[in-house]
Symmetry: C2
Subunit: 336 residues, 2 copies
C-alpha cells in the first residue's frame, strides 16, 4: 500500500541503509547518491513511517501532558506555552485532560507504565510518592508545572508570597476585614495552591497585627458560580469584609458578580483581588497577582527536553516571578 523505504531503495538502486542515511542526514553519503535518493523520494512521494521509526529507535517521540480541567484559562495558557515549543521539536504532543480523581490515577498509572511517552508534563496535579516511584522505575522524565514533589523537577511560583502580596496590598490600602475565597483545601486532587496562598494571607494579616478570622475564609469547588455563592455568604456577615482576595481571577469575577447582586460597588464598597492575570482580568479591570502562565509551560518543556537528553540532571526547581497588577477593583475601604 504505502511506499516504504524498500521501495525507495530499489527504485534508486541503493540499499535501505543508504536511504535511511540520507533521511537522517548522515554525512557519509556521496552527494550524487544523496541526490538520486532524494529524487526518488520526491518521485514516489515517500514519507517514512513514524511508527516504524519509533519502534526501531525505541522512543515514542511523544510528549504527554496531563492537566486538570483544561478549559480553565490558566491551564489553557500553560498548554499554549507547551504546545508552541513542542511544535518546534520532533515530538508529538498528546494531551490528557483529567476531571476526576479516577481519571487522574488512570493517567498517572498507564501513561508512563504503558510506555506511551518519552517525557511527561504534569500540570497542577500532585503525584503521590507511589506515582513518583513508578515513574522513576520506568525511567520516564517527568516535569511538574504548578505543583510539586521533592523528588521531581518542577516549575512553580511562590504561592505563599502571592497570597502575601495580595493581602498586603489590601492592608496597605487600609483594609482590616479581608476575606479569602479558595478552592477546597482538602479535595481529592490535593492541589496545594489554595493552602499556600492561605498561608501568605495569614502571614500578611499577622504582620499587620490583624487577627485571622476563620469565618472570613471560604472554600468550595472551583468556578465562578461557586465563588459567587461563597462571596454572598461572606458579604452577609456582620461586620462584612471590605475586601476579598480570591484564589483565582475566575473566582474573583464571581465575587464581583456577588457584589453587583448585593448592590455593592467595586471598589468603593468592596475591593477585590484575583490571581493569575488571565485575559478577562484586564477586561474586568481586576487587580490581581500575575503569574507568567504561558512561560511556565515553556520553561517546563525546556526542562523536559533537556532532561530527556540527559536524565542525570540534578533535580531542578525553577521558580518564576509573580507581580501585583493594580487595576480598578481595589481602593481604600469605605468609611465605617
Amino acid at each position: 500500500m504505502a511506499v516504504t523505504i524498500y521501495d525507495v531503495a530499489k527504485q534508486a538502486g541503493v540499499g535501505v541503509g543508504t536511504v535511511s542515511r540520507v533521511l537522517n542526514g548522515n554525512p557519509n553519503v556521496r552527494p550524487e547518491t544523496r541526490q538520486r535518493v532524494l529524487a526518488v523520494i520526491e518521485e514516489l512521494n515517500y514519507h517514512p513511517s513514524p511508527i516504524a521509526r519509533r519502534l526501531s529507535l525505541r522512543k515514542t517521540l511523544t510528549i504527554g501532558v496531563i492537566a486538570p480541567f483544561f478549559t480553565r484559562p490558566s491551564i489553557v495558557e500553560r498548554l499554549r506555552g507547551i504546545e508552541a515549543l513542542v511544535a518546534e521539536s520532533d515530538y508529538d504532543l498528546v494531551v490528557y485532560n483529567v476531571e476526576t480523581p479516577e481519571r487522574r490515577d488512570a493517567c498517572f498509572r498507564s501513561v508512563v507504565a504503558g510506555h506511551r511517552v518519552d517525557g511527561l508534563i504534569v500540570i497542577h496535579l500532585a503525584p503521590t510518592d507511589d506515582d513518583v516511584r513508578r515513574w522513576a522505575q520506568a525511567q520516564t522524565p517527568v516535569i511538574l508545572v504548578d505543583t510539586r514533589h521533592p523528588a521531581l523537577h518542577r516549575v512553580v511560583i511562590d504561592d505563599v508570597a502571592g497570597g502575601h502580596l495580595a493581602t498586603r496590598h489590601l492592608i496597605e490600602l487600609g483594609h482590616r476585614r479581608i476575606g479569602y475565597i479558595s478552592d477546597w483545601l482538602d479535595e481529592p486532587f490535593h492541589f496545594t495552591s489554595s493552602r499556600d496562598r492561605l498561608l501568605g494571607y495569614q502571614r500578611a494579616l499577622a504582620e499587620a497585627g490583624l487577627p485571622f478570622r476563620p469565618e472570613y475564609h471560604r472554600q468550595g469547588d472551583h468556578g465562578r458560580e461557586q465563588a459567587r455563592q461563597m462571596a454572598h455568604d461572606l458579604l452577609r456577615l456582620a461586620p462584612r469584609p471590605t475586601a476579598i482576595f480570591a484564589h483565582s481571577d475566575t473566582q474573583a469575577l464571581g465575587v464581583m458578580q456577588a457584589a453587583a447582586d448585593l448592590g455593592l460597588r467595586v471598589p468603593e464598597d468592596l475591593s477585590v483581588v484575583g490571581f493569575d492575570d488571565i485575559e478577562m482580568a484586564e477586561y474586568a479591570g481586576l487587580t490581581t497577582v500575575r503569574q507568567p502562565l504561558a512561560e511556565t509551560g515553556r520553561k517546563g518543556i525546556e526542562l523536559l527536553l533537556r532532561l530527556m537528553d540527559d536524565p542525570s540532571l540534578p533535580t531542578a526547581c525553577v521558580e518564576l516571578p509573580i507581580e501585583l497588577v493594580v487595576r480598578r477593583t481595589t481602593a481604600p475601604p469605605p468609611n465605617p
Copy 2:
C-alpha cells in the same frame, strides 16, 4: 530492558501467539492457560508496547486535531468535547495548534501524508481542494468542525441564520442603525463564518427594508482589543449605530469596553449582541447567539470514529442548532 511479550511467553511456558491472544481477548484460549498468562503478566508487570502494536496493526491509534488559536474560548470548548470522547476510546489525541498560515499548511500536509494519525479533525480552518485531494489519496478520514468543504464530512452551524437571528432581534427591538464587527473577510486563513454572518445580517436588514451601509461593517483581526478599536470607529460615526452585532463574544466584550470608554451605557445607549455563548458571556450579561461548542467536538469525534470503521460512509453534514440568548445588553434604541 523492558519486559516483552517473549518474556511473558517464556515465563508462562506458552507461545507468544497465546499471550497475544489473551491480551486481545481472543476467546480461543483455555481458561487455565489464560489464568497462567495473566498471572505472569501481573508478576512481571508487563505492559505491551503500544508502538510495536501499532506497527503490527498498521494503525497509529492516534487521532489528530488541527485547530487555530486554541486559547480562544470557543476553540477550547470544542477541544474539550473532543478530548472527552477520545479519552473513552483506544485512541491518543494529539493536538496541533496553528497560529500562522504557514503552520496550517505544514500541518495540513505533513500530518496526514506522514501517516501520523488514523483520523483527523480540523476545526475552523478551511482546507483547499488540494488538501482534500491529498487526504483522500492517503485514505485518511477527516472531519471538519465549524468549517466546510463539499467533499468532506462536517459538523457546522448555520452562520447565515445566526447572523440573521442576531440582526433580526435588534431590528425587532426597534434598531435601525446596526453595526457589524467581524474578522477580516479576506484573511489568509479563509475563515468563512464572518462572511456568512454578514450575509445573514444583510438579509435581515433587507427584509426589514433597511439599507446595508458598508461603513457600518468593520473588519479586523480577531480579538477583544481590535474589536474595541473597531467599535470606537463605529461609534464616532454620525449618525452612530444604536446597536452592534459582533462576530464573537470576545469581540462583543471589546465593543462593551469601547462603549464604556465613550461613556455610552449598554443597553440604554447601545445594544450589543455577540456570538458563541462562551462562559464570559453569561458573566457579562451578554445577549448572544449560542452555538453548542462542546457538542460540535463530540459530534465530530463520533462521526470520525464511525468513519474510521467504515470509510465508505456517505459524506455527512451535521448541522447543529443555534439559539438566541437574550440577556442584558440589548434593549430598544434610545429616543433620537
